[in-house]
Symmetry: C2
């Protein structure tokens, strides 16, 4: 059993001076964090904290059975899987796919490729939609080997609804009523617009479980169905998450990765480190940083009323990629404003590796000969860590022993639990997103949706820009 590691020495004052956390602050926090752990242990599985139960029975078995039954039915007969969703209904799917399927997945032929090609459409970009369906049609003109997986709890999210209407239109034009065999919806099991659509048309469905918000849903059917279709070991994902969950019930912060992570980041935020960079040294894990961006930003970026004072809480999550961004962002991270914590993510043992061959015969480069690429990658990361410490920039490292589903499951559960801790520490509800509403209703108004007539004028009056434009 390989366990995720969290190294945090570079966040402490004896490493990075006043930009780090003092020993006494860490000491004092131990008690508080232990109290929060008890609080989370007892609220676990209640209200909006049902996501913590996803890796455990009975949800685990129920979801696996539902997913396996649909996967068995569709996997061999599907060449193109089109996932429609946005935000929490897409970022996890993309992250799991990129982390655990080969980079060249969509280019590979079957059976080397362990499932259909996958296209996750999470934007209403006209070119993306046109090109994607043109490519699918090229390989499957009748769309008979194409499956659409629409993910929407309510069915009312404008982007997903629009994409669904387009995809459904294409399928029904191609095959009439038979199109209903080519749609699997993941939606509310009881109510809502998408529920009614599915019931009426007879689409197969899997549930978005109750008490599981979008950005905490990756380990539910939302993220697991498309993963299973592409051959990812979803049981191992849940196993990893369950093991991490148990570690995060531990009252001692020095044994509890999520509690420590939350403490480091929120305490450093208080000390002015308001930008939180997540920087995997692994291309496959880069999309997990996008998943993290939503989790951290939408959960904690909140206006709070502190005794009559308006406070804008939260920190800005930023994604970066090592070594690539050493040649793009590290100049700034070392010599720009000291307002960041850098979180490295590292893979310890690589299954694929390449040895840099000798034979070029150039003296200056001979130090690279016979070296494994993974060792160069690790040296680069260590050197960057050192350079940041030298500039008193706090940083930490999450190490995945391997790049596999078991470790990725741990990573996900750890960050979700860390977010719950952070919510408690900031006195914020991490499960709502009130500020997203205005944009939604303003869109409805601009699109002429009944009931939102007033918004169009309001928006256009506010944004009349003619006099401040260079053209």
């Amino acid at each position: 059993m390989s366990r995720l590691r969290l190294e945090y020495a570079n966040c402490l004052a004896d490493r990075v001076g006043t930009h780090g956390i003092s020993a006494s602050t860490l000491e004092a926090a131990s008690r508080q964090m232990s109290d929060l752990t008890q609080q989370l242990n007892s609220s676990k599985g209640t209200g909006m904290e049902c996501w913590r139960l996803l890796p455990f029975d009975p949800l685990r078995t129920a979801h696996l059975e539902g997913i396996n039954s649909l996967t068995k039915k569709h996997r061999d007969s599907t060449d193109n899987l089109v996932v429609l969703g946005i935000g929490g209904s897409a970022l996890g799917n993309i992250a799991l796919h990129n982390a655990l399927c080969p980079l060249t997945y969509n280019l590979m032929p079957r059976p080397e490729r362990d499932g259909p090609r996958i296209f996750v459409l999470d934007n209403v970009d006209p070119q993306v939609i046109t090109r994607t369906f043109a490519e699918i049609k090229r390989t499957d003109p009748s769309f008979e080997r194409t499956l659409v997986n629409v993910i929407s709890k309510s069915g009312e999210t404008a982007e997903t609804a629009a994409l669904f209407m387009i995809a459904r239109g294409i399928l029904s034009e191609a095959m009439g009523d038979k199109h209903s065999d080519h749609i699997v919806a993941i939606t509310d099991p009881k109510q809502g617009t998408m529920r009614s659509i599915c019931d009426e048309a007879g689409y197969e469905t899997l549930p978005v479980p109750e008490g599981v918000g979008g950005r905490f849903s990756v380990l539910s059917p939302v993220g697991l169905f498309s993963s299973a279709m592409c051959g990812i070991d979803i049981k191992a994902l849940l196993d990893g998450a369950a093991e991490m969950d148990e570690r995060c019930c531990e009252p001692d912060i020095r044994q509890n990765p999520a509690a420590m992570l939350a403490f480091l980041l929120i305490e450093l935020t208080r000390q002015g480190k308001i930008n939180h960079v997540l920087m995997p040294y692994c291309n496959a894990l880069y999309s997990l940083a996008d998943w993290y961006r939503q989790l951290w930003a939408e959960s904690l970026g909140k206006r709070v009323d502190l005794q009559g004072n308006e406070v804008f809480a939260g920190a800005t999550p930023i994604k970066a990629l090592g070594t690539t961004d050493q040649h793009s962002q590290i100049q700034l991270y070392r010599e720009g404003p000291n307002d960041k914590v850098i979180g490295f993510v590292e893979v310890e043992t690589w299954d694929d590796d390449v040895c840099i061959p000798a034979g070029l015969g150039v003296e200056n480069l001979s130090y690279l000969e016979g070296v494994n690429l993974s060792d160069l990658l690790k040296a680069e990361k260590k050197a960057t860590e050192y350079a940041l410490v030298e500039s008193q920039r706090p940083n930490f490292t999450i190490t995945l022993p391997r790049l596999d589903a078991h470790c990725v499951g741990q990573f996900i559960q750890m960050w979700e639990i860390a977010t719950a801790y952070a919510g408690l520490m900031l006195n914020i509800n991490p499960y709502d997103q009130p500020a997203v509403e205005t944009g939604k209703v303003a869109t409805f108004g601009l699109m002429g949706r009944a009931g939102y007539e007033g918004w169009k004028d309001k928006v256009e009056k506010t944004l009349d820009t003619s006099s401040h434009m260079i053209e």
Copy 2:
């Protein structure tokens, strides 16, 4: 001729209150910016400002001729183009490819795909390298229809050197000395390690021109050769850049997009908006935000000595994607710390579009029926702009009349010139990157390169973490 537009009303105080720029500040800046324009007009083409000459003769013609001759030779006989580079030797290539080639480019067959498949390798990730070469070998076992384009001015960058040694090893194992016909290097025309390698092995080369730094090199052979191989209209790119350059010689800030952009961003930085988000509403333009990230971060993130006081200048560039990130980041952008400027990028006329079909028969969604996807995208952007203004968050919009090479060329030249202005405003040299050095030498030390022996101990002593790890 379609010209880029810059709308900036939402950065002004009468839109976003004290979080914006006052009319008097803008008024007062006009004179200063006009002086800087004169300064840049006269330094243009000297020292490290030679990049401004790239769109003009004689460089233009010289580069186009060199590129066309190699493209003519290799394009039809190449099925896989492997680009090796990092930072400024990759981000521009990726950005141009994603902006101007179809999203599904690598999946399409020829002749629909107007050139070889492209794989830009800008990281020493062992899995990426293994998988990419395995995929190439699958389709081209002898590597006879594969071309490697290595981009490195010096040849000493560890990552690019390692990748080059691996790629060269694979090619020479497959075809011996004949491998030299399958390598095109873009490097210093006169000196350096890569120059010597090319001279000795007889590799074809194109120049990294003198006085053009990596992050300002995309419109040189660095970015243009791989683009031309993939069928991008590189003349139109240069035309667009040339036209923008002329607009940016205009002393009146109200007519000069780069001067206005630099003024807005640096002035707002002074007012505490230290995070600069670039958020295209267009998937194809998302990688240009990565290119911008390097330009802005590495050029301006500098430690400066202000009369004995150490100041950490610069702002943190952040990339986001509309509408996708409305469901991930907008909660934070509206209710989190008011420390950002949001730069939208919008496409005005879409060549590909999709009409959302009727037929679903759901009342709640009927407002979407018959709507073009591009109009939904625009409404979403406008609604988000409105929501940000309502929360007093400054933002601006860059509009590309079309998604084509001419407009992308304008966009690139505008941001590069804005960076030059910002350097002058901050009293910073935007053309160096001193803080990257420590990581480089520490890597050499850890890798055992001769002459860097002391660094290994130094790094390992500093980073001994055993006591601050959760495992």
